[in-house]
Structures are given as structure tokens and as C-alpha cells.
Assembly symmetry: C2
Homo-oligomer: 407 residues x 2
Amino acid sequence: MKLSKLAFQVTKTPPTNADTINHKLLVQAGYVRQLMAGVYTYTNLGLKVLRNIENIVREEMDALGGQEILMPALHPKANWLITDGWNKIDVLFKLQSRTGREYALGQSHEEIVTPLAKELIHSYKDLPLTLYQIQWKYRDELRAKSGILRCREFFMKDMYSFHENQADFEKFYGEVKAAYLRIFQRLGLTAKVTEASGGSFTQKISYEFMVLTEAGEDNIFYCDRCDYCINQEIATITEGDACPKCGAPLKLARAAEVGNVFDLGQKFSKDFDLTFANKNGEKKYPIMGCYGIGISRCMGVIVEKHHDEKGIIWPACVAPFAVSLIALNGAEPYANHVYETLQQAGIKVLFDDRFQSAGSKFAAADLIGLPIRLVISSRNGKQIEWKKRDQAESELIDLETVIKRLQ
Amino acid sequence: MKLSKLAFQVTKTPPTNADTINHKLLVQAGYVRQLMAGVYTYTNLGLKVLRNIENIVREEMDALGGQEILMPALHPKANWLITDGWNKIDVLFKLQSRTGREYALGQSHEEIVTPLAKELIHSYKDLPLTLYQIQWKYRDELRAKSGILRCREFFMKDMYSFHENQADFEKFYGEVKAAYLRIFQRLGLTAKVTEASGGSFTQKISYEFMVLTEAGEDNIFYCDRCDYCINQEIATITEGDACPKCGAPLKLARAAEVGNVFDLGQKFSKDFDLTFANKNGEKKYPIMGCYGIGISRCMGVIVEKHHDEKGIIWPACVAPFAVSLIALNGAEPYANHVYETLQQAGIKVLFDDRFQSAGSKFAAADLIGLPIRLVISSRNGKQIEWKKRDQAESELIDLETVIKRLQ
């Protein structure tokens, strides 16, 4: 794509209300625009990043045996009354039709997926069952903040599993945990599996996948020597206390939750009378699990973790394009040839074809943050300057080598 | 994919409240489930169809020079007050946060895209500008009906264009019209370009793209000899009257709107004070156009137009898989080999591996409606029975030929 054709361009001016790096850089580099607190438009560039993250998550959920479906965002009040979420969940957006029908906007989908599963689950032979979706969610947050980290409208993968017994749930939870850690690793994030509260409906603990960042809204205690990690909300310890697993002193840090796992027990199966016949023909309630990943939040956390003073540094798998291509004065004809050749080779290129100074083009490339920068200059003839976004050194290589490296 | 793995299976029992063929067949074949009137869950199969339609629409919008973005569904009340839509649009869903902040749910996005364009448009050099999105929309319909044709939550492509003058808008409208007719043709739909009312904000006419079907909710007069077509709502004629273009007698028929084009004039540019400097440096308001395609509605209309008494007959480009593969008793080992070979060749196969009678497998294949059915039977050795869903005759061909035809 030619940079001049992008509707939303880079800007030197940071947004006045940005409280976090992701908000500042994502707006300046042209990935998002804020409509109001906690509600954002994704530009063409931003949508590409979102789709890349979405596809990584989808791949791993499919590999787990999850089946993708798409449930609505508009829910009947009746379903939320059955679980008492209508009264108990303070972030639930409620609305009314002009004829007085009442709805909730989906902030999670247990209330929809459980009755849906009644059609699918009759016998132990129908278990386990795993359904997931990738979809926009709505939460009436008191304070939306931190750019796209804490939003009122956000993009999420939510998966729901149904099991014959606790052991089967635990086994599947282990697989999900491994898949989650793989996802976050692919996204360039180191997530800590953190014990946390199970929410308003259960005494059980849940697990949160936490990435250390000052932009986060949680405080966690973690151990440097082992993998022990606990949310301050449920912890009865202070910084420096001995790790209950290995004895090393615990550290306290700010973190952002990028994923979570809830052991829902039989709460929702009982509420919706979802039963199955076990091997002895007895009626039982399945054990349910719920597994979330905040896709738009991950995009924000990636920026918090991968940037420098010049801009974003996207991991290659989520970058909207593979390379920034820059032509210095006089080198446009060869740069055009390089652009066409790369595109024909199936390589995603963002070609800065604007009438701008070299300095301004370099600044734009750094701000946008694609993994590789290619510079074409008459001085270097057919040789192309190759530089990684996260390294200072550059090298001169020929077009064939550029293609070989990028394919 | 193996049919036994699909969470939502085919069923002989039609839904009790189905008023249209699309509702009946889409539920029976396992593509959708109704959550409440006008609100549906899309199963894995249904989601595949929706994505196929979405991708065709995206291709054609990109080819027009449209730039895809994604605007939120949650809108601030202020934007809707500026245009008076807050008071005038009866299908607008409104809601309130727990702190009393008021929002609308997007039923169209002029109120969001116009202020967004203020950042992008300053001079005539910034025009024309074309932005589009593909997204779920919300409408407080008094009567949601006809399966996925008239929904309260529906999937839509909406595009917005900004022009220097009326002539430029008309030129672009011509291009969009051609792209729309191409899209509907690709989807297997014959759309008639129909004159209609421009809505509550303008005296101008709009154009609706109408497909003749009894499941539709509009009545249109159309001419068989030329392309004249007008919505009964704005027509002052009756059936049999002479076509104003060619004199042939007009026909009256029921139709479903699958797309539309609105000449918005300067209504929204003026409301949001969106201006540009023309060649003489004078401040002017751009002319805006709005172009919709109902993606989920198209899915329903395709079923209305492409089915027989046995089930759906998907056009190949929207079908969730390319072929149904059926093994008759004893032929499973070779069928498995065929399944693996086709998948390795990149062909999307739905393999009916269930322990069911041949008749029940044939019925499922007909109901699901993939374009090609392959039957493996010990009787035929390595020869494979190839049958098109919309034809009665079958033929025996070898695996190599199957692959050649499907690639």
C-alpha cells in the first residue's frame, strides 16, 4: 500500500487526553481514533493489527478443538434474570425497545451459550463440548481509561467448555493454559498465570494471564524464582514476603490482564437446567469453563511493551505490513520497481510515496513501527538499505536477498 | 471437516415459528439459531457463509478505492442530537450508563464518520474520500421477521463517500452501482435498481437494490422490457400501467432490499460543519453519499432464491465447503483416503462420517446444500460418484479428475 493513500496519517501532535503510551502512539501513528472515553474507531492500519491478533487466537482455539460460532450482542433480559446477572453485574449495559422490551448488551456470553448448549448436550457422549467466538463486547465501566486497555466497547475472544466432571475440566484447562501461553508468546508478551478471585458467583479462584506494565490496572505479587503469582486483591501477603512455593522474596508490580480462565462449576448449568445422562443413566449437571482473551487490549499491551521514544515496534506477526519502503530524492523510479516486485512476491509493503523530507519519512516509519525498513537511495545504486526497527545498524543488500529474507 | 464434529447438526424438524424459507432451512441445516425475534446466533457453518459474502463485498469495495475502517457500535448521544436523529429516527436504540451518560447503538454511521472526516478533509485535494466498514448494526424494529431478512441485529457493509460537487458524486455513484450489480451477480442474485424515497432527511430519491422474492417486505413496480423499477411507496402508478421509459406494461412484485445508495447531499457536512477549501479558496460543504449492503440479509435472500424441496443450494462462492463427501457402508477406508487427499489439495470438504443410513446422509447433504456431492461406494471401486446439487444426473470419475475439477 502507498502511505499517501492512507486516510489517517501520522501526526507529531499527541492527543491531549492520552494517559498511556498505547493511547498516544496508536493515535499518533494512525491506528485508532477516540470517539469518546473507552470507545475507539480502528483505522485501516489498526484493523489490520486487530485481524492479525484475531487470527493467531483463532488458530490456537481451533487447534484446541474449539468450534467458532458467533452469538449476538443483544440479549433478552430473561436470560440475565435467570442467573441474577441482571441485578448483580454492575457493568451490564441495559436498554429498552420502544415497545418496552428489555435487553442487555453482551459483556460475556454464559447467559446465551448455556441455553444454546441444551440442544447439543444430552449424554456424556456429547461431552466435552467447546464453543468460542470472537466479538465486540460492551461494559458499562465507571472509568474507561488507558487507551484501548480498558474500554466500554472492546474486541474479545470468549470460549466456553462443558465437561462431564471436574477432572475433565482440569485436563482441558491445562491445554487451554498451554495454548494461552503460546498465544501470548507469539504476540511478544510474557504472561504470568495469576491466581485471582472467581468473580461474583463463585468461591473458586480463577486464573488471570498478566503482563507486567505500568499501564495495567492490577497489582500482582510474583516470584522471580518460580512461577508463583497472585493478584493483590486476594493476597494476604506484602512485598518481600516469602513465596509460598519456593521461599524467594515476592515482588509487587503493576500488570494488565490479557486473558483469564474461570472455573464456572455448575452455576450456569444449574441456572439453565442443562443436564446430561452419565454412564449410569443418571442426570448430571456439566462443569463449565470460560476462557477470555482481550484482543483489542492485547493490541494496546503490545504497544506498551514494544516501543521506544520514536514509536511502536510491532512483533512481525501482528504488524500491519512486513516492511516500510522509503525512497530518498531521485530514487523513486527504482523504489517503484522494488515496491512492485515485493508486492508480486506476496510481501506486504507500506511504501512512503509522500513528498516529504527524508527525516520526516524516517520519523513516520519509526512511529508506525513495521519490523523492517528498506531505504532506496541513488547513492547506493541497486543496493537496498535493510534495517530492523529494533536495531540501530543497517546493511546494504540486493533486491533478491530482500525478497529471500521476507518470504 | 467431519460432519460428526459439527456442534449444530441437521434436523428434520423445522422451527415452529418460521415464517419464511430462509428461517426454516437455515435452522434445519444448522446454519443459525434464533435467540429471539430478529436476533440470531451463527453456527460454525453459518459463520463461514457470512465470511464468504463479507469477503466478496470487501474485494469489490477495495477495488472501488474504498478504505476499510471499523467504527464503534456505541455512539455518544451528542452526535445524534446534532443531526436530530436522536428524536427523528424511531428505530434508534438508546441506552444509558449507570452514571446517566446516554448512548445510541449504531443503526447507520453518518453521525460518526462525518466528524471523523473533519480531520481528513481540508482542501479539494483531499476529495473524493471513501471509507467503509463491515459491522453489526442495531435497529429497534417494531416487527422483526422473515428469518435473517429483517433483524434487530444484522451484519452490514456501510460505505460513505465525500465529494467536491454533485457531478463527482454522480460519477462515483455510477461506479458503486456497477460494483453492486457485480457483487449481487457473484452472490447468485439478480438485483433491480429501484427508485425509492431518500428517507427522513431529504427530498432526493435513493436507489434500492431489490431482489424479487415473496419473503421480501417491499412492493416494487418493474418493467420486463427495460430496467425501470420503482418502489410502490413513491410510485403513483398501478400494475399494468405503461412503463415511463419504454411503454411496456409494468409488473408489481414483492421484493427484498439487499443494498441501497443514498445521495446525502450536504445534510451531514452542514450539521457537523465539515468544509473544504475549493480551488478558489472558498469554503464549501462536501456532497456525501452512503452505500449499504445487508450481508446477513443477503445470506437469507440467497436461500430464498436458491433452494428446492430438499434444502439449500448455495452458489459455490458462498458455500461453507466446496463438497459433501459421503461414504456408503464398507467404503470408509477409501473415503478417508479421498478426504485426506482433497484436503491436502486445499479443497474444502465436509465429510459425512456419521453412523447413519445412506438415505439420511443424502438428505443431510441436500439440506446443507454444498454445490457438489461425492459418493464413495464399494460397488464402484476407486471411481467416485460426482453429482451437482442442482442437477439430478451423476457421473463416475476418478479422484484425479475430482481434484482437477475442484481446484
